[in-house]
C-alpha cells in the first residue's frame, strides 16, 4: 500500500479555482506545466492569478485521480476528462463530482486518509442534521475517531481542514448548507443530481457485490449508505432510484422478491451518453 496521506483536507482546493483549472486542462489535452497554467490564468483573468503557486491544488486533484503527471506535465485522467467535459455545460455538477471523489476514495485506496476525514465530517453532519456546523466540534470528532480507527494521536486535522470540506458542501445544489443569521446549518437535501446518485449506486454496488453475485440487494444499509454519500433524505431514495434507472440503461433494478440492483456496465463515460 502506498504511504498514507495526511488526514488534512486542503482548503486551498476551492470550487472556483478547480473549475478554472479543469477548463484550462481540458483546453490542452497534451497537458501543461505550472508555468503554462499561470500564463493562461493571467490571459483569461482567472481567479487563479491570486495564487502564486498551484502545487497544492494540483496535488489535491491528483489525489482525487482527476489529474496525473507525465514528463513534468500535468494532464487530466480519463475520469478528469469526463468531469471537465460535463461541467462545461453544467457547472453545478462540479461540486457533486468532487464531493463524490472525496467521499469515496478511501474505500478504493485506504491510504487516502484525507478522504476518510472528509467522509467522517460528512457523516457526522448527515447523522445530526439539521444541525449547526460547529467546526471545533467536528475537529474533535475526527480526531477521536482517528484514534479509534487508526490508533493515531495528534493527527493533522484542524478547523481549516473542516473548511476544506465545507468549501464543497456549500457549493452543492440543492444546498445542504444554509445560513441562519451568522451560523451555518447543515440540512439533508431533498434530492441530488442524477449523476451523483448513479455514481453512488455504482460505488456501493462495487463494494457489496461478491464474486458470484450479479445483483446486490437493496436493503436498508444499502439505502443509507447511498443517502449518506449523496447527503439526501432517506425517504427520497426511491424517487432518485427511479430517476437514475430511467436515465441510465446500466442501472438495472429487479423488483421480484425484494429489490436488487446491478450496475454491470456502468463506467464513468456512461455519464456522458
Amino acid at each position: 500500500m502506498l504511504k498514507p496521506t495526511s488526514f488534512h483536507v486542503r482548503h486551498d482546493l476551492q470550487p472556483v479555482l478547480t473549475y478554472e483549472l479543469l477548463n484550462l486542462f481540458l483546453s490542452k489535452p497534451e497537458g501543461q506545466t505550472q508555468e503554462e497554467l499561470e500564463h493562461s490564468a493571467n490571459i483569461y483573468g482567472f481567479r487563479l492569478r491570486e495564487r502564486k503557486d498551484y502545487s497544492k491544488l494540483i496535488k489535491s486533484l491528483m489525489e482525487l485521480d482527476v489529474l496525473r503527471e507525465e514528463d513534468d506535465r500535468f494532464l487530466l485522467t480519463d475520469k478528469g476528462e469526463i468531469i471537465s467535459r460535463l461541467i462545461i455545460y453544467q457547472r453545478d455538477l462540479l461540486a457533486e463530482f468532487i464531493h463524490f471523489l472525496y467521499y469515496s476514495s478511501f474505500d478504493l485506496e485506504p491510504n487516502k486518509r484525507f478522504s476518510w476525514s472528509y467522509r467522517t465530517v460528512c457523516d457526522a453532519l448527515w447523522l445530526s442534521a439539521p444541525s449547526v456546523i460547529n467546526r471545533d466540534s467536528l475537529v474533535n470528532h475526527v480526531t477521536r475517531e482517528a484514534v479509534t480507527i487508526f490508533e493515531e494521536n495528534g493527527i493533522s486535522f484542524s478547523a481549516s481542514s473542516v473548511s476544506g470540506v465545507i468549501n464543497w458542501l456549500v457549493e452543492l445544489i440543492p444546498n445542504c448548507v444554509v445560513v441562519h443569521g451568522t451560523e451555518q446549518q447543515f440540512v439533508r437535501r431533498e434530492y441530488c443530481s442524477i449523476e451523483l446518485f448513479t455514481l453512488a449506486l455504482n460505488h456501493e454496488y462495487r463494494r457489496k457485490s461478491a464474486v458470484d453475485l450479479a445483483y446486490v440487494t437493496i436493503d436498508s444499509s444499502f439505502r443509507e449508505e447511498i443517502c449518506r454519500l449523496c447527503l439526501i433524505n432517506p425517504d427520497k431514495f426511491s424517487e432518485m432510484l427511479s430517476l437514475a434507472e430511467a436515465s441510465f440503461n446500466c442501472v438495472d433494478v429487479r423488483r421480484e422478491r425484494g429489490d436488487k440492483i446491478s450496475m454491470s456496465k456502468f463506467e464513468w463515460n456512461s455519464l456522458e451518453n
Binding site: 484550462l24 483569461y44 430511467a246
Partner: protein
Amino acid sequence: MPHSIEGLSVIANKAPVVGTHVGGFSATSVKQTQERYSKEALTYVRPKEISSYQQRFLDRLLRKKTSIGCIVAPFGYGKTSAAIDTWQVCNENKILTVLPFSCSSIAEMGKAIATGIEHRLGHSSRGAKKVRSAYESYLVSSAKRLAEQDTINYKINYDTALRSIEDKIERGYLHIDATGNHLLGFFEELTHIVVESGFDGLLIIVDEFQQFLGNINKTVITNFRTLVWGLRTRGTLPLGLLITMDPDTERNLSERAGDILHRIKEDNLYLDFTDAYEREFASLLWTKYAQNFQFTGKNSKIVDKATLDSIGQICERHDLSNGPRTVIDIFQRIAHLYSKRQRSYTPVDLIDDFLSGDIRFDGDRSKIASLVTELTSYEYIKTSSKRLQALKLISAFPRGCSKEVADAYGLGNVLTELSDALRGEVLTELPEGIALIDLQRVGKPQNKLNIILKKYWMQITEGEIVTDRAVALFAQYAISAIFPPFRNILSGWSREEPNYRLTPSGSYTQIYEGSFFEDFPRRRIAIEICRKKDQISRPEDSYDFRFVFVLQRSTENNTEPIFDKKNKTFILGLRIDLPFGIPMPRDLRWIEDYLRPVEMSPAVVLSLIDYINSQAPKIDDVTEGELQRIQAYSKKLNDFLISVMFGPELFASLGINFVSRGEQALKQAIFYVLKQIYPDYQTLISSNQWETICKTYIDALKKSNLAQTRGLERLEGEKSEIAAVFGFRNHAGFESQIRQFHRLAVLEDWIGSQGAIRFQSHIGEGVVLKIITDKKNLKQEALFQEARKFGYLPEETHYLLEYLLLRGYIEKDKYGHFKAAQTLSKAELVKIARDSEIEASEMVSLVKFPDLEDLISQKLSKVKDMSRLTKTQIRILEFQRRVQSLRPVIIKEIQGLLGKYRSDLYEKSDLLNQEIPISSTGLFIDAHINGVQRKIILKSKVMLDKSTKLSTTINEMLKLLSKRDLTSTIVEDIRENKALFVEADKSIAELQEVIELINQHIQWVQLADYLLLIKEYIETLKPYVNVNPFVTRYEVIVRKLMEALSVKGINIYFDLYREYSVKVLKLYDEIAIAIKAAKINDQMLGGRILNKASHLESGQTLLKALRRKNVLLKDIVQTGKWDAERLLGALISLEDDGKVKLSIISGKPDR
C-alpha cells in the same frame, strides 16, 4: 422447403434457444450438429454489429494474425446463433472452423477440437492422423504417465490402468491436470496441420464459456491466462479463438481476472451486443422467415408492418423485453394464432398477449403488462371500448403511435381524444407520435412543474417565441445572471437604470457598473440588445465598453462577431431560434420530451423560464419545497441556456481563444477587452479602505524630502520613526503592513532597530504626467476626463496628481492648471538658489530659523559642481521649498508686529488727544507756560496727523498681507514692512516725546499753582509771622525763573523745572506748614478753648506735620526763622485744662 403453413408451424415450434454441442465429437454428433446449426443459420438475421465484427475477425485471420475474440450477451440474445453464423462465414472463407461447442475442462476442450478437426479433415486423412497424434502428445500423454504410476503403485497391468484413466477422462470423472501450456502447444500444432491441409487458418469457437470457467478458481484463471497470453505471443499464427459468455460471467471474470479481458479487448474483437438488436431486427427476421419458409406473399396478412414495427420498438428495449428472445416468442405466438384465426396479428393483439402472459419473455419486470393493467382500470378508459383499444394501441409503440397508424385501425379520432385528455399525465407527444410517459426512458416528473409545462405547451406559438419580447427576456435571464448584485467595491454590479432603456434606434440598453476583476474595479459596461444590426446605437463615452447582442432568426443573415476597439464595442450575433444541437442535462430531458414537438432553442427556453417563473407561485396548493424545486429547474434551464449561448465559438472567428462557456466565457471576454483598451492600467483601488491608504501615503510623502519621494534616496531611520511616517504608533507588524501600499513603498532594510524604505511611483503617475506634458495646462476636470481614457477613475486620478505634486514632477498654478515641473538649466538653478538665499536672509532677519540659516550658509548659488545635477537640483529645490513653506510664518510674524505698532500708535495718540491745561494763576509765569502750551498743541496736532497716516498705512498693509498669494517671493513685502517698522518706531518715539512734554507742561502748571499758593500763604501768614524770609525767597525764585524763561524758553523746560520745582515745593511746604501752625496757634492764641478732641486732633496733626517737616514751632512762632535744622521736632502737649501747649525744644524731636 416447407410451405407457408408448415413454415409457420416450424416457427411456432421452434425451440426458444439454440443448443450448443457439448464436448467431443463423434461421427454421428458431428453430422447432427452440423444439420442443426445449418438450419439455425437459415433463419439467422445478422445484426450489422455482428456483421462488422465477423469481418474484422476474418480479416485478421486471413492476414495470419492470431486473434482472440469474445462475444457477450444475456441469455437468449443469440450468442450461439452468432457463433454459428460466424462458423459458417469463416468456413465459407477457407478458414477451418470447428463446430461451436461448449466444454468444462481443458481436456474436454482439447477433445472437442481434435475430434472436430478430425471429422472436418476426414477421419482417415493424413491431417486427421496428425491431429490425433498431437492430441495424444499434448493432452493425453499425462494420462499415460498417470497410468505408469498406477501400474507401479497398484501393481496392475499398464494397459488396464491406461484404459481406466482414459475412460474416466471420457466420462468426465477425471480431469487430467492439462494446463494452458499444453493447450497452447496443441493449438499451434493444429494450426500447422490445418494450413498444411490447404486451409488459410483455424478458428475455434467455444460457446458458453462460463461452463469452462466454472467457479473461476485460481487454477482455471491461471490456465486461461496462460492460454490468452500464449496466443498473443504467437502473433503470426492464423489461429483464432472465439469465446462467448453471458454478462454475469463477464463481470465475475472482470473482477477476478480483469487483465485477461483487457488483453482480449486489445484486438478489438470484443463485442457486447446486448444493444445490437435495433428496432429493425423484428422486421428483418420476419422477412427472413418469410423468405425461408416461403410465405412472403402472405407476409402482411399474418402480421402487418405496424405490428412488426411495434415489436421492434419493444424489443430494442431490454427494460421492456428480453431482446431477440421476445421477438422469437412473439413470432411463435403469431404463427400459432394465425393458423387458428387466419387474420393479421395487430399491436392490440400483442398487448393482449402481454396481458394474458402468452408472451413469456416480456422483460424482467413485465413493465408493459403492469402499466397497461393499471391504465385500463381507469374509469375513463374502461368505460369505452374504443378508448381501451386506443390505449392498448399506444402502449404497443414506446416510441410513439402516429395518427396514421391509429387511423389504419380506425382509432384515429380516439387517439386525438386521449392525447388531449391525458396529455402530461399519462401521454406525451414524441416525434413519432403519442406514447405512454411511463414507458419512456426518462422518469416522470416528480413535482408540479408538469402542470406549468402543459399550459405552456398549449399556449405557446413560434411567433410568440421569437418576437421583440425575446430581447427583454434575453436581458432579464441571459444577461442579468452574468452580473451578480453589488457586494462591495471589488465585487458585484449595480444597474444605472432599474430597467433597460429603449434607444431612438430601437435597441435596448443598460449600463452596469461594478467589478468582476480586482485589477479592474468599478468599470462601466454597457449592454445593448437588438433584433437587427442597424438598430445599434452610436457609441458613447459614458462606459468603458459595450457588448451588443443581435438576436436573430436562423433565416436572417448572420451577424459576424466584431470587436471595434476604437469605439470600444463588441458585437455578437446570436441565433435565437436555433435548436441547441446537444443533449440537455439529464434532469432536464424530461422537460424536453414533454414539450415535443417544440424544439429547445434559446428563444424557447427564455420564454419557458419566464413562463415558469410567472406561473409557479400561482399553482394551487404548491408547497414551499415544490416551489423551490421548480425554481431549481428554472435556474438549471437558465444556466444551461447561458452555457450554450456563450462559448468559445462565439469569439473564435476573431482569433480570440477562450476555454470556458457561459458566464465564465463572457467574463473572459470582458477581461480580454479591458486588457485591450487599458493595457497600462493599474488600479489604486486595492481594497475597501483604498482611500485611507492613499491618504496615509500622501502624509508619508509630505514628511519626506524630494529625493526620498522620488525614490532617489531611501527613507532611513529608527523603525519606530519610519512606522510613524506612515501613521503607525509602533513598528510591530510594519513589514506586513507596508504591503498594503502595493509597491508604492518598498521595504529595503528592516534589521535590528533600523529600517529603510524607498518610495516608488505608481504606473498611473506616468500616464497622468504624460497627459499633462502633452496637453499642457489642464485643469482638474479635463485631466480626469483624459485619464479616464486610460482606465483611471477620477477619484484615482485625484490621488495620482497628489503624488506627482509631492514628488515635484508637476505644479499647479494659481488658476488651477497643472503643468509639468520644469527641467531647469544651470542658470535657472543658480537663480533659484540666489532668490531663495535673498528671501531666506530677509526672513531670518525677522525670525530665527536655524535650518534656514544653515541653508543660507551653504551658499548653494555658488556651487561649482553641477555635474550631479539631479542632486544639486533637488537640494536647491528643497531649499526653495523650505523657503516657500516659511512664507506664511513670516507673513504672520509681520502681521503680529504691525498689529503691535498699531496698538502703540493708538494708545499714544489717545494721550495726545487729551486736553493740555493752561496756567491761570495771574502770575508772570502764566504767559510762559501758556506759550509752551500752544506750542505743544501745535506739535501734538502734527504728531497726531502723522500717527493717523501711519496707522492707516499699517491697516492697509495688514489687509494686503491677509490676501497675499504666497506662491511668489515675499522679499519685497518683508523689506517694505521693515521700513514701515522703522517709521513706526520713529513716530512712536516722537509721540512719546510730545507726551513727555505735555507731562512736563502739566507739572509746570502745577508749579505755577504752587507759586500762587505760596503768594497767598504769605499773605495769610503775615498777621502771624515775619514772612519776609518767605517773601525774599519767593521773589528770588520768581525773578530767576523769569530770567530763565525769557532767555531759554521751552527748550530748557525740563531742566528749569528740575531746578526750580525743588525750590518752589520746598518753599511751599514750609509755608504750608507755617500756615497750619499759624492756624492752630491762631486758634489757640485766640483764647478760644477748643474742644478737647479737636484740640487734640489739631495738636496731633500739627505734631505730625511738625515732625514730618522737622519744624520747631517755637522758632516758627517766635523768631520767624525756620531753618530746617532748627525746626526739629516740636513738642505739643495737651495740658489737663485742654490747652495745647507748644513747647519748642531744640534738637531732635521726641519720639
